[in-house]
């Protein structure tokens, strides 16, 4: 009850400020254009914003600053990847700004120096709840997309192991289960982000979907995706085919592959799905999970695997668990081993200052006290520099 009321209150000021911002943003932009010569107006901007919009050029001096991604790019690169609250913020501010942070810079450094001949290295981003793991992953994805890698982005692996309304027995393997809805949603989004690749990559063998439908050898991969989208029954198998083809062809060097999985601990945890006889379904009995597990093993080369651990959507894990072994479990850890763990923590002083200035600049903090030094200290204390917490508190002000 309370939550729904809070939601209403949340929506209210956002809509109003959204309209308000449209007008003010336009006015402000025109004012900025007129006052180009005025340097003092630029100076407060420089603290928390940077004009460098290509992640490849992000370096230590950009740490703590926000860089904006053009909205057109966002639609292509992130059809399904940004956190829900960030998407709402994007709609309100009419721009999408990501903060450049140290873990992301570290990860980008590793990605830049990837040796494509070596087996794919696995990176696991971990940290407490709400510290910015998904955003770090999105930063890396943006970099790879800009560098023309093929991005295989699974936005939340937890979605595949819970709340499935239609669980069908797989036609390919009697033991496994298909999830047509989830698979077709994913295929649609995958198509949006990697359309040009799908036309170039050709299948290496024939796939029989049914007695009458098949995809010949040498056809573009886009046809497999189309097959999955039109015949929803075969969607999970289509996903499997896509993953297999990509894994086989990536070592040949035609393209570079980034496998980005958010919430990878879902693959080795438990599911809430049940079979017809009410017995629990284990993750490897799901086609999607089975194929994805094969993807994150490092027996291929020519790309990288970046994953995040997430307690937020996870099943049967305590809220305070964030270390890799706790969330992955023994099986998951042994499969991913050896991997590079990357820690993401709460905002530092500089980053908090930057975020606070950004919200003030976007007129998100409407309360009078928010501008004062006391207000800033109060925000710092209440949120404990936790990005998620800060965002939630600011939404009420």
């Amino acid at each position: 009850m309370l939550r729904s009321v809070k939601g209403v209150i949340c929506q209210g000021p956002k809509l109003d400020s959204g309209y308000f911002l449209h007008a003010s943003a336009r006015a402000w932009l025109s004012a900025a254009v007129n006052q180009d010569a005025q340097i003092p107006a630029e100076k407060p901007r420089a603290v928390f914003r940077t004009n460098e919009s290509n992640p490849a050029n992000h370096a230590e001096q950009h740490e703590g600053q926000h860089y904006s991604i053009p909205l057109q790019e966002v639609k292509v690169v992130f059809p399904h990847g940004l956190p829900y609250r960030f998407q709402m913020q994007m709609k309100t501010f009419n721009e999408s700004c990501l903060m450049v942070r140290k873990p992301a810079l570290e990860l980008l450094g590793y990605l830049k120096s990837t040796n494509l001949a070596h087996p794919a290295i696995r990176y696991v981003i971990y940290g407490e709840k709400g510290t910015g793991k998904t955003m770090t992953l999105c930063h890396a994805i943006h970099y790879c997309a800009k560098q023309d890698w093929l991005v295989l982005h699974i936005p939340d692996a937890h979605v595949w192991v819970k709340n499935c309304r239609e669980l069908m027995q797989s036609s390919y393997n009697k033991e496994r289960f298909d999830q047509p809805l989830e698979a077709s949603t994913w295929l649609k989004n995958f198509k949006t982000s990697n359309d040009h690749f799908l036309k170039e990559i050709k299948t290496q063998q024939t796939y029989m979907w049914s007695k009458r439908e098949s995809t010949e050898k040498g056809r573009p991969l886009g046809e497999v995706v189309e097959q999955g989208l039109t015949r929803v029954k075969n969607a999970s198998d289509a996903v499997g085919v896509v993953l297999k083809e990509l894994k086989q062809q990536c070592p040949l060097g035609a393209f570079r592959l980034l496998v980005a999985v958010d919430g990878i601990n879902a693959l080795w945890g438990q599911t809430t799905l049940r079979k017809k006889d009410k017995s629990a379904v284990s993750p490897e009995e799901l086609t999607l999970v089975h194929n994805l597990r094969k993807m994150v093993v490092n027996d291929w080369n020519g790309g990288a695997i970046v994953t995040t651990l997430s307690q937020t959507g996870s099943l049967f894990k305590p809220r305070s668990a964030y270390l890799p072994h706790e969330l992955l479990g023994k099986e998951g850890f042994d499969t991913l081993d050896p991997f590079i763990p990357i820690r993401v923590s709460n905002y530092s002083q500089r980053e908090f200052e930057s975020c606070y200035q950004y919200y003030l600049d976007r007129k998100w903090l409407q309360h009078d006290r928010a501008r004062t030094e006391e207000g800033r200290k109060e925000l710092l204390f209440l949120s404990n520099s936790n990005p998620w917490q800060l965002e939630r508190i600011s939404a009420y002000l």
Partner: protein
């Protein structure tokens, strides 16, 4: 009622025979008698009332005279160097006039202090150890000394005691005043021994720990066996010693089915033949293959320093995961995969 009582009391004395009429009948009749007596005449009623009042006053004054005046509390008569065990020779409730301490106990009133000890139920309710002061205990020891034997002079430290007598036996004796001296709790015997004193090899120690389960404490390396299944203490002691012997001999034996021990049964993480080792070696071999270096063998890789480093960090991580461990693991993996920071 008071009037009736007064009437009854006055009837006890021989001076007023008039009111003896209604004595045995009860209060109702007494009242009627009283009403009757007033109906007789005003003159006769007056002196009876006065006499009732007078008798009441004199009765209360007599009670007051008979009541003993309390003397000075004992605390005022105590000398500073008195023998306290005379005041509290046994366990007794707290007596405020026997304890010369200005103690306050209880919840204070608003803007006040805790109530004083006089008539303080809180102090009386709680158990006190006023009968167990050090001089009193000294007296107990002196009294018990006649029944004790001398402590051996060789055993002057804890380590020597442990070295010569590794097994500790604990028994409890119960004394109570009652019709019977028996207490069923007295048959419990507790045996304590440190496993480091027993001659066990690695396999025997692990097997013994698995056999005893909860009775072993890892922090103090102590095995505790508590027996109470026999009716007599001597029998329980024998049974405890028998259990220890059996555990020791059984843990040295290796059964045929013990070689089916799976990874889940292992107490600690062993890196050899683990998926982690396989993964690491496979990755390294693939890296070498990519670099076209084919002369490297598995043994060489296993012996190399970075693999050793990786192995230690994985073992430490598996045994207990902390931030530091993960940072160490990260460094070792970076060295393994030849990544520069």
């Amino acid at each position: 009622m008071a009037a009736a009582r007064g009437c009854l009391c006055s009837c006890a004395r021989p001076m007023l025979p008039r009111l003896c009429v209604g004595l045995v009948a009860g209060p109702g009749s007494l009242l009627r008698a009283a009403a009757y007596s007033t109906a007789l005449g005003v003159g006769s009623a007056g002196p009876s009332q006065r006499e009732v009042a007078a008798s009441r006053r004199s009765r209360t004054s007599q009670i007051a005279r008979n009541r003993r005046v309390p003397g000075a509390p004992r605390t005022e008569k105590m000398a500073v160097d008195q023998d306290w065990s005379n005041v509290y020779p046994t366990a007794a409730a707290f007596n405020p006039s026997s304890v010369p301490l200005p103690i306050r106990m209880g919840y204070p009133v608003k803007r006040g202090v805790p109530p004083p000890k006089g008539g303080n139920l809180e102090l009386i309710k709680i158990p006190n150890f006023l009968h167990l002061t050090p001089p009193a205990i000294k007296k107990h020891c002196a009294a018990l000394k006649d029944f004790c034997t001398e402590w051996p002079t060789v055993l002057d430290s804890d380590e020597k005691c442990e070295q010569h007598f590794p097994i500790e036996i604990e028994t409890v004796d119960y004394v109570s005043a009652g019709p019977s001296v028996r207490n069923p709790k007295a048959r419990v015997v507790t045996l304590r021994v440190k496993l480091s004193k027993l001659n066990l090899d690695d396999h025997a120690k692990k097997k013994l720990i698995k056999l005893v389960g909860e009775r072993y404490c890892k922090d103090t390396d102590m095995l505790t066996i508590t027996t109470d299944r026999c009716p007599l203490r001597r029998q329980n002691y024998d049974y405890g010693i028998y259990l220890l012997t059996v555990l020791y001999h059984e843990s040295w034996k290796t059964e045929m089915w013990e070689n089916e021990k799976t990874e889940a049964d292992m107490e600690e993480y062993i890196w050899e033949n683990s998926p982690s080792q396989k993964n690491a070696l496979d990755t390294l071999l693939r890296i070498r293959a990519a670099e076209k270096i084919t002369e490297v063998t598995r043994e060489e890789l296993l012996g190399s320093e970075m693999v050793e480093n990786y192995k230690t960090s994985v073992v430490v991580l598996k045994n207990g995961e902390t931030e530091n461990n993960i940072l160490q693991y990260k460094e070792s993996v970076m060295k393994l995969l030849n990544l520069r920071a």
